[in-house]
Amino acid sequence: MAVLVIADHDNASLKDSTQKTVTAAKALSGDVDVLVAGQGVDAVAAEAAKIEGVRKVLVAESDALGKQIAEAVTAAVLPLAANYDAILIPATASGKNYAPRIAAKLDVAPISEIIEVVSPDTFVRPIYAGNALETVQSSDAKKVITVRATAFKAAGEGGSAAIEKVDAGAGAPKTRFVSDEIVKSDRPELAAAKIVVSGGRAMGSAEEFQRVIEPLADKLGAAVGASRAAVDAGYAPNDYQVGQTGKVVAPQLYVAIGISGAIQHLAGMKDSKVIVAINKDADAPIFQVADYGLVADYKTAVPELMDALTAAGR
């Protein structure tokens, strides 16, 4: 049995959801290859080759792959599929976009966002916003699976896999890339950060969100997240959304400020190691999952928290 992992990257560097997906893949098989599909991805392929336990790294390059267009990724993967019993893909926005397309072309049932490998054909995945965990057994000979990265430890370094070019496939003849607006940030990436500070509707404006949340995140070396309400209102960019239908995070420390703790928000952060909530409503549901709750107006609590952190040497 062999497994293909499709790497998560931005053409410049490998994202650690790849190493985490490799760990899930190793629970299926000892023969794990990684496909880097992109454009100008030499550095990414070199990083992937260093992942411990990877047999070889396949590289497919084209403009359409550089933009992660689903049709193009599918066309690159299909000719390789015959060599593998399972294809594992990090459950990022990009992976979720093409994984089901690959599965449908192979006539298999995709298995979304697994959090555990029970056996090579049985997996656990959250459903209903994480309020239930489903154990499913697949009867497909070939499996297409997306992996919730936060549920697996990253595979270590120390490998030296061979790198091999493969055909890029037919591209995406019916789809044209127009433009993108990628938010550049020096902060750690939300999905991989050790600390996340998130703001909610209570911020009231984009200016206030920046004034309150960002300095605190900077002080903690944290990534910034947001509730849907804050994103919908334009206080924070869309890719900050944490939750059932946004990003799933599981940092060492999650700080929720002015967030009520709706089911859909909890789905994205309740596996964090330590949760802190600052909310002026003592009955806010967020306190039911918070390890440390501070019932206070953030307007006074956050400056005090900044001072206390300074005093503690942060």
């Binding site: 599965a103 449908a104 209903y128 057994q137 009867s139 306190f287 918070a290 952190l309 503690a312």
Partner: protein, 249 residues
Amino acid sequence: MKVLVPVKRVIDSNVKARVKPDQTGVDLANVKMSMNPFCEIAVEEAVRMKEKGVADEIVAVSIGPVQAQETIRTALAMGADRGVLIQTDTDVEPLEVAKLLKAVIEQEAPGLVLMGKQAIDGDNNAVGQMLAALLDWPQATFASKVEVSGQTVKVTREVDGGLQTLELDLPAVVTADLRLNEPRYASLPNIMKAKKKPIDVKAPADYGVDVAGHLKVLKVTEPPKRTAGVKVENAAELVAKLKTEAGVL
């Protein structure tokens, strides 16, 4: 242009799902059910296209139990023109849903399929992509803006680092994200009018699709419970606890 909108009946998004004690699934008896919120957004987008003269007919399709008629009625009350219910009590998996939708689309020949990115019960996020694959149509998932012009559609998508805009040849499949629009509430007169709009009732066998599926649910369990911790008095106490007790600073 004809627009086809697949809509799913799911647990209402305000209800917390509870696992059945026998671990066979989630308890849906006497639970409020609604149209999947992402499908509502897709219907709204289709109705706006019709209002702008871009679309001339909207067909809402649902696969589910007899009660899924209500979900189609909701779409009709929002402005869809007619419905197709593929009635089955089986919990149809995404691959078979996509195969059934493909069969409907081959009969209906829409110029665009607008659907939700994800159903909030199974959280699969799969049917749109699978449908596009089976039809060999282009796809644009997680849409926050959709503009049809002539034979193409321009879609802004919510991606990992921000936004991506693609232009697809029609026909195409587009899946809606939260920020595409804010769905309307159907007015009472429109709810009344919707009662007279036609719904075709079919069975999976009418389309020659076997809905047995490839996945077997062995059990459904409750996730580990997180319990409430302590309330701290002030920021200084919080920092002290995070440092010494939790060890995360």
